[in-house]
């Protein structure tokens, strides 16, 4: 480019500096927590650990990983996530497909029913009363059913289905394929990208969720691992043995929290570089209609 002024070059320099700062500030808490997770308790307590482990050891990892309840809750999270994601994906796909049919009578009403819930909801108490009186407490369904369709995801999928060429489905209809057949054999194979995106959206949100488990589950062996962590940071459990004195429990708390946080983040961090662009494309797709 001709005529790059001095002022602009100064701006580029400042800009680079600001963005570097953004990156460092964003990453710092992660680096810090990993460093703490590998550090000795004494070194953490005396405030020596920042970006590099001090008093390197793996005993805290051993301790957390040998806690049976941690693994039970970790398994619960995996199980809840798989079941909830599968159900959410099926329901969202069905409804989004119906909504994408422009000539369907009553389509506007069906869209309105979903969209209205984005702006007005029953609130915490009526939901709590409902879930309790349906007898869903202490079951997987308390986590799955109340969140089975995210309207945002629904709109993303609807936008995608609407972008598919109508002719394909018409051709299928001429060949005598019914609605179900068209959806399963024509539309879904063409929608792998959006299905993958939705799968990730739902899986990450169910993996990360804690409040439903916290609210509707009273038995420790049913908790998702996020509730395990919340009880840990709220000081409600000491992490491993409950026989330890409270002073000792306090002593081990910092590194145990760090290890638990790292272990819960780990799966997301591992897949993050690969899934990130799907998320971005999903968000864009949802925004197209806006």
């Amino acid at each position: 480019m001709v005529g790059v002024t001095r002022g602009y070059r100064v701006f580029q320099l400042v800009n680079g500096f600001v963005l570097t700062l953004v990156v460092l500030v964003t990453l710092f808490p992660f680096v810090n927590i990993v460093a703490r997770s590998f550090s000795g308790e004494q070194e953490i307590r005396s405030g020596q650990v920042s970006i590099w482990p001090k008093g390197f050891n793996l005993t805290t990892y051993e301790r957390v990983m040998s806690d049976a309840m941690f693994w039970t809750n970790y398994r619960n999270t995996v199980f809840y996530t798989v079941v909830a994601t599968a159900i959410a994906l099926v329901l969202t796909t069905c409804y989004a497909y119906v909504l994408s049919k422009r000539n369907l009578k009553g389509r506007g009403l069906l869209v309105g029913i979903a969209v209205f819930t984005m702006f007005f909801n029953g609130g915490l108490i009526p939901n709590y009363v409902l879930v309790s009186s349906l007898g869903l407490r202490n079951t997987l369904w308390a986590i799955v059913l109340p969140n089975a369709i995210s309207v945002f995801n629904l709109l993303v999928m609807k936008a995608f289905f609407e972008s598919l060429p109508v002719e394909l489905e018409e051709a299928a209809a001429v060949d005598g394929t019914g609605t179900y057949g068209t959806l399963l054999r024509i539309v879904l194979p063409l929608s792998k990208a959006v299905l993958a995106t939705m799968l990730l959206f739902y899986a990450v949100s169910f993996w990360n969720s804690w409040f439903a488990g916290f609210l509707y589950m009273d038995r420790q062996e049913l908790f998702p691992v996020t509730v395990y962590l919340r009880n840990l940071i709220a000081g409600a459990t000491s992490g491993t043995d409950n026989t330890a004195t409270s002073e000792a429990a306090l002593q081990i708390a910092a590194s145990i929290q760090a290890v638990t946080i790292v272990l819960i983040m780990l799966p997301i961090m591992l897949v993050y570089p690969f899934i990130q662009r799907y998320f971005v494309s999903g968000v864009m797709l949802g925004a197209v209609k806006g």
């Binding site: 650990v49 920042s50 007005f120 909801n121 609130g123 009526p126 109340p146 997301i268 864009m284 806006g290």
Partner: protein, 323 residues
């Protein structure tokens, strides 16, 4: 219209100038023809009915006396008793103020900062560098709120890095998490940390759609970089800005319930307790369901009014709106 007419209901959607479209079918015809499609909608509709609309109805317990374990919709009518109760409740006004303050601060920082970051990112010409900064800045968005709370608590703890810094400067360590004066700062800055990168996505997309001819013309007119940004770039992303502003205003009072629940403690209630956390304690913890439902209904109605208000305001002032 009061005159009785036997004609079928008029459709209001069909514009009259599209005679080529097939005539509106009756419901019976539509059902016979598209029953397979409608059948796909049955389970999702049941979901919306039971888990979205039934709780809306469930709000009648705000006007009725509800006993836990009793009739789902309450025992008998009490009228506006619970509304009068919370309007006369000093704690309610305190949490309402806290909600408004935290909501305003969040809006003040979390709305403009993504725009600024997007503009800065847009000036980066090195592709991989831009991608790297984006990837890193999106990362916190993918974490569970519990993990975020854990990270915050570890960072600001007595042995955490912030206090290490303070000690390095010869200051006394601060117990941030127990100080009411620090809660809002903690909340808002962690909110920025978590959302700013993710918030740039739509702006960056909007920036790529701006016609580059506009920049050339501005340059011909003698506009420097700064003027180009002001007169071309910002107007170019204005629709996106307005859309997101409406959405932000609509959720302005629904401040991060889960995060506050994880971060606050009785010592910081003075500044941290918001409407939703208060109603959680009143309703779920203490079991005053009807009272809490009244507070919740009030909160939802304000939220709805805010979205509708912001939307119609922006339609009138800026000519863009969500619907």
């Amino acid at each position: 219209m009061l005159t009785a007419q036997a004609s079928p209901p008029q459709s209001t959607e069909d514009p009259p100038d599209t005679p080529l479209r097939p005539r509106r079918r009756s419901w019976a015809q539509a059902l016979r023809r598209d029953w397979q499609l409608y059948s796909l909608a049955v389970l999702p509709l049941l979901f919306f009915l039971i888990f979205r609309y039934l709780p809306m109805l469930g709000n009648v317990i705000a006007f009725r006396r509800y006993e836990p374990g009793g009739d789902l919709l309450g025992e008998y009518w009490v009228g506006l008793r619970y509304f009068r109760m919370f309007l006369a409740d000093p704690t309610f006004w305190q949490v309402f103020t806290n909600t408004a303050v935290i909501g305003t601060l969040t809006l003040l920082f979390c709305f403009p900062l993504p725009i600024i970051l997007a503009l800065l990112l847009n000036e980066v010409r090195t592709r991989w560098l831009k991608g790297f900064v984006q990837t890193v800045s999106y990362l916190p968005h993918f974490l569970s709120i519990v993990v975020v709370a854990g990270l915050i608590l570890q960072t600001v703890s007595i042995d955490g890095v912030i206090n290490q810094g303070l000690r390095a400067f010869g200051q006394d360590p601060v117990a941030f998490i127990q100080e009411p004066g620090w809660f809002r700062t903690l909340y808002v800055s962690s909110e920025v940390w978590q959302t700013v990168g993710w918030g740039t996505i739509l702006y960056l997309a909007a920036l790529t759609t701006i016609d580059s001819d506009l920049y050339d013309q501005a340059r011909v007119d003698g506009a420097n970089r700064w003027r180009q940004t002001w007169h071309v770039t910002l107007p170019g992303i204005r629709p996106t800005m307005i859309t997101l502003l409406i959405l932000n205003i609509g959720t302005f009072l629904a401040v991060g319930f889960e995060k506050i629940l994880l971060l606050y403690n009785p010592l910081t209630y003075v500044t941290a307790d918001v409407v939703s956390t208060y109603l959680y304690r009143v309703g779920i913890v203490s079991g005053s369901f009807s009272y809490a439902a009244a507070i919740g209904l009030f909160e939802s109605l304000i939220g709805l009014a805010l979205v509708l208000g912001a939307n119609s305001l922006s339609r009138r002032v800026a000519g863009t709106s969500l619907w």
